[in-house]
Amino acid sequence: MADDARDPKEPTGDAEVAQTHPGGDLDRPVEAAGFESLIEAKTGLGEMLAPVAGFGVTFSAMFRPTITEQYPFERVPTKPRFHGRHQLNRYADGLEKCIGCELCAWACPADAIYVEGASNSPEAQFSPGERYGRVYQINYLRCIFCGLCIEACPTRALTMTNEFELAGPTREGLIWEKQDLLAPMPVGALAAPHPMAPGATDTDYYRGEVTGTAEEQIDWVREFRPDDPTLPGAATATTAPAEQGRTR
C-alpha cells in the first residue's frame, strides 16, 4: 500500500531503537490499512446541508409524544412481571403459605435470604402442615431481583410485587423481616396462628380448596385471642375440604 512506506525492518538511523516484538512491531500494526468510509460521501445540496443535518433528529423529536417519566411526581405503573420487592403470601383463611423450607435461601445467588423454620403446634399453627417459617429475612442490599427465589418456592408463598422503591437511610432498615414482607390480610381472613380449616390437609390448601375462613377457626381465635383485630372482619366463607384430597 502506498502509505505503508516504511519497512519495519529497514534501519531507521538508530539501530538500537528498532526493536522487534514477538507479536510484531510495537508502534504500528504489521499491516496498517488506510481508512476508507463505507458511507458514500454526500454531494451537492446534501454536502451543503451536512453540518446542520443532525438537527433534523432534534426537530423531528419535538413533534413526537414525550416518553420522559416525571418520577417521582408522576408514577407510571411497571410492567406486570417487573421484579420488585418480595411478598409472603397467605391462604384465604389467613394462614401463611411459607413453610420455612429455605429453598429460596438455597436458590439465592446473592445470599440475601435468611430463613429459620420451626414446628407448628396445635397451640400455634402458622401455616398448614408441620412446618412454618419462624424467621424470614431478605436483605435488599444484597438482593439482585433475579427471581430465582420465587421459582424455587414450593408453595408459591414467595412472589414478587412490582414495588421498587426500596431506598433507605440505614443498612438495618433494608433487611426486611417477615412482618414487613407478609402480604396484607385477604378480605375475611383471620390472622395466624389459628388451626387449619376443619378436615383440610396441607395438600388441600395447596390446591386452593380452602377458600375462606371457617367458623371453627373464628371460634378458636375468639377463644384464645378475643381482641384480635382481624376477628371482626373475618366473614365466614364456606370451606371445602376435598373428600378425595388425601393424595400427596
Partner: protein
C-alpha cells in the same frame, strides 16, 4: 487394574485369597468374601443404595443396587444371570462379570424401576423434611431415577411423625423400609426398640410394642426397663439411627426444622462426655451449635456415638454462662462484673499472699476432670511453678492414695502404641475381657459397642465383677462374677488357675489366653485393696490392663501431672531426677518436694484453715464424695479463684471468677482411655479464653512467666519435656477392708452413674432427658423380704444424713446390697445420703403418708458432672 485392601489383613492380602473378576470392563482383584458393591466402591464406581451400610450385615432390603451379573459355568462359558442381582448381598466370585448402570441398560432400567416403586408412597415432603438437602433418596432419585413421575393414584399415608422416644420422631410415609435402623439397633446396640411390623404394603417400622409383636412372654420387667417417658427399651445409641436413615423417616426432636445443610458449617470435634474420645462433627450456624453428628474414625468410635455425645451440647451455651470476669465487691460482698485486668490483679494479689512464699498456708488446686490435655498441663504447671505446691488433684469423685499409686504405676505413660497399651481394636479381638468396677454401657458407651462387636463375632467373652448383671451386660452375653461392694479384692484374688472348676476358674483360664484384657473403672478407687488386687491379677494371668475413667480429661490429667504425686509425663514427684528434669524444662530453680494432698485432703485442709486459698477449675461440688463438707471448705478458705464456664456452686462462693471457654470455643486435645491423643479445632468464634490462657495471664499478673499463652506453646513445651524413662511409682500395696457388720434392715450401697442422669453437661436438653432410664433401687429378693419391701413399691434408702425414696426392682444380686443410681434426677446419692458405694445404708418401706415420695434433698438436681473449665 488391581485393587487390594491392605486394611483387612494388615499390609497386603495373600494372592491366594484374592478373587479376580470384572466390573464395568475393569479387571478387579479383591479379597475373598468382598461384596460386589464394596468392590465397585474401590474402583470408584458408585452403585446407588439405601439399605447397604459397611458396618451392618448385608440385608438386600431396598433392591436399589441391582446390577447385571454374568457367571462362568462349569465349562467356563459366561452365562448371564436371568435377573439383575442386588450387589450389596452378592460376594464376588472368580470370573464373574458385573455390569452396573454405567455399562448395562438392563441394570440402569432395573434401578430406575426400583426407584419408581420406592417413590410411589414417598410423600412430596422434601420442603418440610429435615433430611432435605442431605438425603440419599433425594440425591439418588436425581441420579438414578426417572425425571417425571408416572404415578397418578392415591398415596398411602400415615399420621405424621410418631415419637419413638422423646428424642426420635418417625415419619412412616417417608420410610423406604431399608431397615438400617432396626439392623443397627439389633446388631450394633442390642436394643431392638423398633422393629419391622405388618406385611406387604402395610409394612412399617414401629415401636417394639407388645400390641403388635407380642413379646412372647419377654415383657420388660417392672419400672426398671422403662425410660423416663415410660417406654420400654430406650436405647443410649438411638441417635445413630437418625444419622444412618437414608431418608427423612427418622428425625430428631431437638433439631426438627432448625436448619438446612447449606446453612451449617461443620467442624470436627471430640465428644466431651466420656473418656472414649469419640470423633464427632459439630454443625453450627451463626455462632450457635445446632446439632452434632458422629464422626468417622475406624480406630476409635467407627461411626457410632452415644446419644449423650450427640445431643448433650446445649450446656455450652446455657443462659448461666459467665460472660465477664467477676470479682467479689468488698463493700457489698456480692460478685460484680469486672474487667479482665482487675480480676487478674485481684486474683493474683490474693493468691500471692496465700502461697507459703507469700506468708500464707499455701494454695490448693482443683482443676476438675474434664479438661483438655493443654489445660490440665497448665494447671499442673501453675500449681508447681507459680504456687509452689504439689496440692493439685483433678479427681472430683471418690479416690484414694492407692489409686494415686495405681495411676502412677500402671496407667501413666501407657499411651497408644506403647508397651502394654490397650486399644479399641484390642478389645474387639480379645478372647476374654474382664470388667472390674466398670459398667461399660453407662460409663464408656462406645467402648461397650466395641465389646459387643467382639462378642457377636464370637471372639470375645466378657466377664464383669459387679454386684449385679445389668441389661447392658446381658446384651453382650456377659457373665457376672458377683461381688458385693467392698468384696471385689477378695473376688479378684480368687480368680486363679488353681481355683476349683467353675466360674472363677473359667475367668482365670480366659485371662491367661494371649490378648486378654482387664478393664478397670474409676469406681474401684472406692474399694480399699481393689487396685492392688487387680494388679496382682494382671500379673498372675498376663492379661493387659486398661483404666477407663468416666470423664474426658482424667486420662490426660494423669499424663500432664494434674495429680498430687505425678509431674508431667508420669514422672513421680518423689523422684529427685524427675523434679530436676521438669524444673529445668520450666526454667524454675526447683519444684516443691513435699508430697501433694489429694482432693479430699485439700478440702479438709481448707476446712481446717491449713490452706489459705483454692484455685478451682470445672468442679461440681455435688460430685465430691461429701458435697456438704466441700461446700464448707470453700466457704472457710480465705480466697477462692474459680475458672468456670457456667455459674456453679463454686462460683457462688468464689472471690474471683474467671470465665473460660467450653470445648466448642477452644481448640485442644483430649487423651482418651487408650492414651490416644484426640485433638480438635475450635468450632465457634469466641472471645472466651481457654483455661491455659487464663492461667498464663494469671501467672503473668503474679509476676511469673508460665509460657502457655498459645496452644502451640503448650505443645512445644510438652514435646520438649518428652516421656519419662525413669522408674514409675511403686505399685500400691493395700489390703482389703474387713466387711462391716450389718444390723437388720441395713444394706451395703452399690452405685454407679447412669449415662443419662442429672449431670450438668446434660442441662437444657429435655428431649434427651426423656430417654434416661427410670430411677429404681435394686435389691435381691431375700433382702427385700427381710426389710419388708415389695417389688415395684417405693423404698426409702437412708443414711445418717438423709434419704431418698425410689421404686424397688427386685434383681438377682448378692444379698444385703442395695443399688442406686449415683446421680439420677430424683436420686442424688452423694448429696442426699452423703454415702457412696461400699457405705452402709438403711432400707425401709416408704411411709405412704410421708411427703418424701421423691428424694428428700432437692439439692441433688445439679449433681454429677462438673462443667469442663
Amino acid at each position: 487394574m488391581t485393587i487390594t485392601t491392605p486394611k483387612q489383613a494388615g499390609g497386603g492380602v495373600a494372592p491366594s485369597n484374592l478373587v479376580t473378576f470384572q466390573i464395568d470392563e475393569l479387571e478387579v482383584s479383591v479379597p475373598k468374601g468382598t461384596l460386589v458393591i464394596r468392590a465397585a466402591e474401590q474402583v470408584g464406581i458408585q452403585i446407588p443404595r439405601f439399605c447397604d451400610h459397611p458396618l451392618l450385615e448385608p440385608a438386600g432390603a431396598c433392591r436399589q443396587c441391582l446390577v447385571d451379573v454374568s457367571m462362568p459355568d462349569r465349562e467356563g462359558n459366561l452365562r448371564p444371570m436371568p435377573k439383575p442381582q442386588a450387589s450389596c448381598t452378592l460376594t464376588v466370585a472368580p470370573g464373574m462379570v458385573v455390569k452396573t448402570q454405567r455399562t448395562s441398560a438392563m441394570a440402569d432400567k432395573a434401578q430406575h424401576g426400583v426407584m419408581e416403586l420406592l417413590l410411589i408412597n414417598h410423600p412430596l415432603d422434601c420442603p418440610v423434611c429435615d433430611k432435605g438437602g442431605e438425603c440419599p433418596l433425594q440425591n439418588q432419585a436425581m441420579s438414578n431415577g426417572r425425571s417425571t413421575s408416572r404415578f397418578v393414584d392415591i398415596k398411602r399415608t400415615y399420621p405424621k411423625p410418631i415419637s419413638i422416644s422423646t428424642e426420635i420422631l418417625l415419619d412412616r410415609e417417608r420410610c423406604v423400609l431399608c431397615q438400617r435402623c432396626t439392623r443397627f439397633q439389633e446388631q450394633i446396640a442390642g436394643d431392638p426398640f423398633i422393629a419391622l411390623q405388618d406385611r406387604g404394603a402395610r409394612s412399617q417400622i414401629g415401636l417394639f410394642s407388645a400390641d403388635v409383636l407380642g413379646f412372647g412372654g419377654d415383657v420388660p420387667a417392672g419400672p426398671a426397663a422403662l425410660d423416663e417417658s415410660g417406654r420400654p427399651f430406650a436405647s443410649y445409641f438411638s441417635g445413630n439411627t437418625i444419622q444412618i436413615c437414608p431418608v427423612g423417616a427418622l428425625t430428631n426432636a431437638s433439631y426438627r426444622f432448625r436448619s438446612r445443610p447449606f446453612d451449617l458449617v461443620s467442624t470436627p470435634g471430640i465428644g466431651e462426655h466420656d473418656s472414649c474420645g469419640s470423633a464427632i462433627r459439630i454443625d453450627h450456624r451463626r455462632g450457635a451449635v445446632l446439632r452434632r453428628m458422629a464422626g468417622d474414625d475406624a480406630s476409635v468410635n467407627e461411626e457410632w456415638i452415644t446419644d449423650k455425645d450427640r445431643f448433650a451440647f446445649t450446656w455450652q451455651s446455657a443462659p448461666d454462662r459467665i460472660a465477664t470476669p467477676l470479682v467479689r465487691d468488698e463493700t457489698t460482698g456480692q460478685l460484680r462484673s469486672a474487667s479482665w485486668a482487675e480480676a487478674l490483679d485481684v486474683a493474683a494479689a490474693g493468691l500471692a499472699a496465700a502461697t507459703t512464699a507469700g506468708g500464707g498456708h499455701g494454695v490448693g488446686v482443683l482443676p476438675g476432670g474434664r479438661l483438655t490435655l493443654e489445660d490440665s498441663y497448665a494447671y499442673a504447671k501453675f500449681a508447681r511453678a507459680v504456687l509452689g505446691t504439689n496440692d493439685v488433684d483433678q479427681r472430683v469423685r471418690p479416690h484414694s492414695a492407692e489409686e494415686d499409686a495405681f495411676l502412677g504405676h500402671a496407667v501413666a505413660g501407657r499411651t497408644v502404641g506403647g508397651a502394654g497399651s490397650v486399644t479399641f481394636t484390642d478389645l474387639e479381638q480379645a478372647p476374654t475381657v474382664l470388667l472390674v468396677a466398670l459398667e461399660a454401657e453407662e460409663e464408656a458407651g462406645v467402648t461397650y459397642l466395641r465389646l459387643r462387636k467382639g462378642v457377636l463375632a464370637g471372639r470375645t467373652a466378657v466377664f464383669s465383677v459387679a454386684p449385679l448383671a445389668s441389661r447392658g451386660l446381658d446384651r453382650i452375653s456377659g457373665t457376672l462374677v458377683a461381688a458385693a461392694p467392698g468384696t471385689e479384692p477378695e473376688v479378684l484374688d480368687a480368680i486363679t488357675g488353681s481355683a476349683p472348676l467353675g466360674q472363677l476358674r473359667t475367668v482365670a483360664d480366659g485371662l491367661t489366653t494371649a490378648g486378654s484384657v482387664i478393664l478397670v473403672g474409676e469406681r474401684l478407687a472406692a474399694v480399699p485393696g481393689g487396685f492392688t488386687a487387680v494388679l496382682r491379677l494382671a500379673e498372675r494371668t498376663g492379661a493387659r490392663l486398661a483404666w477407663i475413667p468416666r470423664r474426658a480429661g482424667e486420662r490426660g490429667g494423669v499424663e500432664t501431672g494434674a495429680l498430687p504425686g505425678l509431674l508431667p509425663g508420669g514422672r513421680p514427684v518423689s523422684d529427685a531426677r524427675a523434679r530436676v528434669d521438669v524444673a529445668a524444662a520450666w526454667d524454675v530453680p526447683s519444684l516443691p518436694t513435699t508430697a501433694g494432698r489429694t482432693t479430699t485432703e485439700i478440702l479438709r485442709a481448707a476446712r481446717k484453715g491449713k490452706l489459705s486459698a483454692l484455685v478451682v477449675g470445672g468442679v461440681e461440688l455435688a460430685d465430691l464424695p461429701d458435697p456438704a463438707k466441700a461446700v464448707r471448705a470453700i466457704e472457710k478458705v480465705g480466697f477462692v479463684v474459680s475458672l468456670e464456664v457456667r455459674a456453679s456452686a463454686v462460683t457462688e462462693l468464689a472471690d474471683v471468677v474467671l470465665p473460660v471457654a467450653p470445648p466448642t470455643e477452644k481448640a485442644g486435645t483430649y487423651l482418651n482411655w487408650e492414651g490416644r491423643p484426640r485433638p480438635f479445632p475450635q468450632a465457634l468464634a469466641s472471645t472466651a479464653l481457654a483455661d491455659h490462657r487464663a492461667l498464663d495471664a494469671l501467672a503473668a499478673a503474679m509476676g511469673a512467666e508460665l509460657g502457655l499463652r498459645t496452644i502451640t506453646a503448650v505443645h512445644a513445651e510438652i514435646d520438649q519435656l518428652g516421656a519419662w524413662d525413669g522408674a514409675r511409682i511403686d505399685a500400691p500395696v493395700e489390703s482389703a477392708a474387713e466387711p462391716t457388720e450389718l444390723a437388720p434392715g441395713q444394706a451395703v450401697l452399690a452405685s454407679w452413674h447412669l449415662l443419662l442422669d442429672a449431670g450438668r453437661l446434660q442441662d437444657g436438653e429435655r428431649f434427651l432427658a426423656g430417654t434416661a432410664k427410670r430411677t429404681v433401687a435394686r435389691t435381691s429378693a431375700a433382702t427385700a423380704t427381710a426389710a419388708g419391701l415389695t417389688d415395684g413399691e417405693l423404698v426409702r434408702v437412708s443414711s445418717a444424713h438423709g434419704s431418698v425414696t425410689v421404686r424397688l426392682a427386685v434383681t438377682a444380686m448378692p444379698d444385703l446390697v442395695v443399688w442406686l443410681p449415683t446421680n439420677a434426677p430424683d436420686c442424688a446419692v452423694r448429696t442426699s445420703l452423703r454415702a457412696d458405694a461400699g457405705d452402709v445404708v438403711q432400707l425401709a418401706p416408704a411411709d405412704p403418708a410421708g411427703d418424701d415420695v421423691v428424694s428428700t434433698d432437692s439439692a441433688g438436681s445439679d449433681n454429677n458432672d462438673e462443667v469442663s473449665a
